[in-house]
């Protein structure tokens, strides 16, 4: 790993100003669990790391009934996994956080970093001049593509690795972004970008911008939620496919739904059609079989990953069945 200057900004303004002034050369540094790996692999060679971890105001979980949940970007995944009021009010976040990586990584990795982590694609991480690194082709198309995306890929077939993003997307979260000049707030869905719009970046952050806060609206009465994750290595791994389902119910009647998938697309994938179709169905009846075929309907799997479509549909059915029992 090449040496760099480690900067300790005194506040957010100073941090974002440095990041904006040296856009290619400086990178924000929080937990570092992803960034250090990228630097060791030589994928990124920053001249400056801007330490965010000691900045005040970006830590912690704040929830008051009747208000939005606020999660500081520097909150660790362990803090989310262990927080009692989240387990009661926002169980999807607890379930997802508990399935992120291993204890050691959860203890250091932050929520903001989790949302901004780079793809795990072995061509991107490896010694290949791939499209996402400014090269000419996506090697996954004709290469080893078992873990690549089945939808939204053209022209770069990564999957987004974040579990938290899938859960937060199902909860319709928003992201607060800070630059030296201003702060802006976007829906999480609009935070991520597809390769067709920008194949060099996974999100809309511009130089000098960092994620400062994630907000989640309070759940309506009668909300049921479940996060499921399939991993090739059960003890811990990135998702081959994950699914987050949020249903608002009145008795057994589904009145609103949001279904999000991970491991299938270059962004956390909102299943809009299925989410719109679920209301009107009764939990425990018909919906799983009637709608499962709609999940990833527009998928175009690569040579080795068609299994992900079947897996996603089965997770959809499993989630509905488990939520019917809850």
């Amino acid at each position: 790993m090449k040496n760099f200057t480690y900067l300790q900004p005194k506040d957010l303004k100073e941090a974002t100003t440095v990041l904006q002034k040296f856009p290619q050369e400086s990178l924000p540094y929080a937990g570092g669990t992803d960034l250090l790996g990228l630097m060791k692999d030589g994928v990124l060679e920053p001249q400056r790391l801007v330490n965010l971890k000691t900045l005040t105001g970006l830590q912690g979980i704040s929830y008051r009934p009747g208000k939005e949940l606020e999660l500081g970007a520097l909150t660790t995944i362990s803090e989310i996994a262990e927080n009692q009021s989240l387990a009661e009010k926002f169980p999807l976040l607890t379930q997802a956080a508990r399935q992120v990586a291993s204890p050691q990584l959860r203890n250091v990795g932050t929520l903001g970093g989790n949302l901004c982590q780079r793809p795990r694609c072995w061509y991107f991480r490896g010694d290949f001049p791939c499209l996402r690194k400014g090269g000419d082709i996506c090697y996954a198309v004709d290469g080893e593509n078992k873990f690549h995306c089945v939808i939204g890929g053209r022209p770069c077939y990564i999957v987004h690795p974040s579990d938290m993003a899938v859960a937060l997307l199902a909860y319709n979260a928003t992201v607060e972004i800070q630059s030296p000049q201003k702060s802006r707030r976007v829906n999480l869905k609009d935070f991520f970008v597809l390769p067709q719009d920008d194949y060099l970046h996974e999100n809309i952050l511009r130089p000098g911008e960092i994620v400062t806060r994630i907000r989640v609206p309070e759940s309506a009465p009668g909300t049921k939620a479940l996060f499921l994750k399939v991993k090739e290595r059960e003890v811990w791994d990135f998702a081959t496919v994950s699914l987050a389902m949020v249903l608002v119910t009145s008795g057994k009647q589904i009145t609103a739904a949001r279904v999000a998938l991970g491991g299938v697309a270059p962004v956390p994938w909102l299943e809009e059609t299925v989410s719109r179709s679920l209301p009107g169905f009764t939990l425990g009846k018909d919906a799983p079989e009637a709608l499962a075929g709609q999940v990833l309907k527009a998928a175009e799997p690569l040579e080795q990953n068609a299994y992900k479509v079947i897996l996603a549909r089965n997770l959809f059915k499993q989630a509905l069945e488990e939520l019917a029992k809850s």
């Binding site: 790993m1 090449k2 040496n3 760099f4 330490n51």
Partner: protein
């Protein structure tokens, strides 16, 4: 400044050092402080051989910059034994044959230690969860889990 100044506590002793920014906590422990009990395995946070306890939490010292440990309290495997006597976890690792090649053991001990500090009476599932980030290629884990169970029962 490509060098940083860090002040932290390692196994109860205060330490101040100037090191290149790119040095990881693991490098400082092994190279600068001679604490070679902490092992380097995969270098990417997958094997857990480099696990140490930082501010009460198990972390991969290969994925923590030395700079991140500034102000922290670090405990390594060398800090477990007190006054020449092994810590109970260590005794049980020996008693239950939890050690074969031994390479994973410092990490296994530190992950288990962090668990016990937070949860003095963990069940089998909680023990498995605590060492989920530690690979062992010799023992099949069973004896390691037994050794932790024996420690928390006494």
């Amino acid at each position: 400044m490509k060098e940083i100044s860090i002040h932290f506590t390692v196994n109860g002793k205060k330490v101040s050092l100037n090191v290149p920014s790119r040095k990881r906590l693991l490098d400082v422990l092994r190279e600068d402080l001679g604490l070679t009990g902490t092992k380097e395995g995969c270098d990417v946070g997958e094997c857990g051989a480099c696990t140490v306890v930082m501010n009460g939490r198990a972390v991969h010292s290969c994925l923590v910059l030395a700079a991140q440990a500034d102000g922290a309290e670090i405990l390594t495997v060398e800090g477990l034994a007190q006054n020449g006597e092994l810590y109970p976890l260590q005794k049980n690792f020996l008693e239950y044959g939890a050690v074969q090649c031994g390479f994973c053991i410092p990490g296994m001990l530190m992950s288990s230690y962090a668990l016990i500090q937070e949860n003095p009476h963990p069940g089998e599932e909680e023990i498995k969860e605590a060492i989920a980030g530690n690979l062992c290629r010799c023992t099949g884990y069973k004896q390691i889990i037994q050794a932790v169970e024996a420690t928390v029962k006494r």
